[in-house]
């Protein structure tokens, strides 16, 4: 077994997504069997990360890091992990009654659970969102624990960089939801609207998130 690497906050740095990925029968590519972060499709195009993945699972069912040679190669050749820690316990996209775990995609509503690790800090949510269909009336609402904190217009086919201060208590799990207007769901119930390129929650001392142009 290769020497295992950990982030400063103790997350295991895995080679999943860097030089090992899961492929499903339809060709869809995911980071691994436990982290359903899409990486494309083997019949179209797929991408690999340039950094190790900070994972909270120590004893996972995924065999990737047990491939000693590939794990060592990943440690030796990967770029520094973009963020100290992803921090989000999961990223949930909701279509109808079916919650599916994804980090980005097309969806009317998505969110994550986040537990601030320190007290006495304002937490800022920063988003990069693209209104890729150019819808005129598209708006995005940010809710924390079910209470709306901010709304942003997303008019125009542009990428919008947004910021909102979140009322988050330390050491308590919060449910942060990003909700698009109902009118962006078409008649068949298909979600239309926006893509999230980058989401992070940060204080001057800590930064948690994902992004970096994965799309």
């Amino acid at each position: 077994m290769a020497e295992m690497k950990f982030s400063d906050s103790g997350a295991f740095l895995c080679n999943a997504g860097f030089n090992a990925v899961l492929v499903l029968p339809n060709g869809d590519v995911f980071l691994c069997s436990d982290v359903h972060e899409p990486r494309g499709n083997v019949f179209d195009a797929f991408t690999l990360n340039d950094h190790l993945y900070p994972c909270r699972e120590r004893f996972c069912t995924c065999p990737f890091y047990r491939h000693t040679e590939l794990y060592e190669k990943a440690v030796a050749t990967s770029q520094p992990t973009l963020f100290e820690d992803y921090g989000f316990s999961y990223w949930e996209k909701t279509i109808g009654d079916i919650p599916v775990f994804f980090r980005w995609g097309l969806f009317p509503q998505c969110g994550f659970h986040f537990t601030p690790p320190v007290a006495g800090q304002d937490w800022t949510l920063r988003l990069s969102v693209r209104n890729h269909l150019g819808l005129d009336n598209l708006t995005l609402a940010i809710r924390v624990d079910g209470i709306e904190q901010a709304t942003f217009p997303l008019a125009g086919p542009l990428t919008h960089d947004l910021e909102a201060v979140l009322p988050l208590a330390a050491h308590r799990p919060h449910d942060v939801q990003l909700v698009l207007d109902d009118h962006v769901v078409d008649q068949s119930g298909r979600a239309l609207g926006a893509m999230f390129h980058r989401v992070e929650v940060s204080t001057p001392r800590f930064r948690y998130g994902w992004g970096g142009g994965a799309l």
């Binding site: 030089n19 090992a20 492929v23 029968p25 083997v42 797929f46 069912t61 065999p63 040679e69």
Partner: protein, 214 residues
């Protein structure tokens, strides 16, 4: 650092159907591979060539990968530039067909699952052993693994001895699931761990969902 001749690993769950019906498996015995569309080989090869990387492609499944009909053709073409690995029960005829043609130099590992009870029920022991001896004789890096299913505890030594007499050494992998009201692998006793020879791998049992891969 040990070197491998590939840059990255695609762990491809090719399908979720199986020709066997093991009590410890979630894939079941749907045997509906005729409904599976063949893999679009040209499109797949073009896609991975665009990455510029050399891949290890491990074909596995929630079932048996060789139930996908054109898998041998894909593998022969992939092996021209990439590397292969397999998780298979060795029973489908096209598995034997491929392994009689493929160069062992292009195969990282051939992980053969030995499902004793199903092989016995379907009278397939001889077929498995024959193919296993062929792949070993051809020089593939081969492992043979069986599941330490608590419901088969008393039969396992007999089966393992029989296979050993044919030159096939079996490794036992922990069972993940429910049996007799208990959750495994956490419910293996110290005696079980000694009995199945898990040894150092026992630490995998300390967390829910943990497993050893053979």
């Amino acid at each position: 650092m040990t070197s491998v001749p590939y840059d990255a690993w695609l762990h491809w769950v090719v399908n979720d159907v199986c020709n066997l019906a093991c009590p410890y498996c979630s894939a079941g015995n749907s045997w509906k591979y005729d409904t599976y569309a063949p893999i679009d080989i040209d499109t797949f090869l073009q896609s991975i060539e665009r990455t510029g990387k050399t891949f290890l492609v491990r074909f596995t499944g929630g079932g048996e990968p060789f139930l996908t009909r054109n898998l041998p053709e894909l593998c022969l073409r992939l092996a021209e530039r990439h590397y292969l690995a397999f998780n298979t029960n060795l029973i489908p005829a096209r598995a034997r067909q491929l392994f009689s043609q493929l160069s062992p130099d292009r195969v990282d590992n051939l992980h053969c699952s030995v499902h004793f009870a199903e092989l016995e029920r379907q009278d397939l022991h001889a077929r498995f052993i024959d193919t296993a001896q062929m792949v070993m004789a051809r020089g593939f890096n081969t492992t043979f693994a069986a599941v330490a299913y608590p419901g088969h505890r008393d039969r396992l030594p007999q089966w393992i001895d029989m296979y050993r007499s044919h030159g096939i050494r079996i490794i036992l992998a922990p069972f993940n699931g429910e049996w007799d009201g208990k959750t495994y692998p956490q419910s293996y006793s110290e005696d079980d761990i000694r009995y199945y020879g898990f040894g150092k791998r026992a630490h995998y049992f300390q967390a829910p969902g943990a497993s050893a891969d053979g």
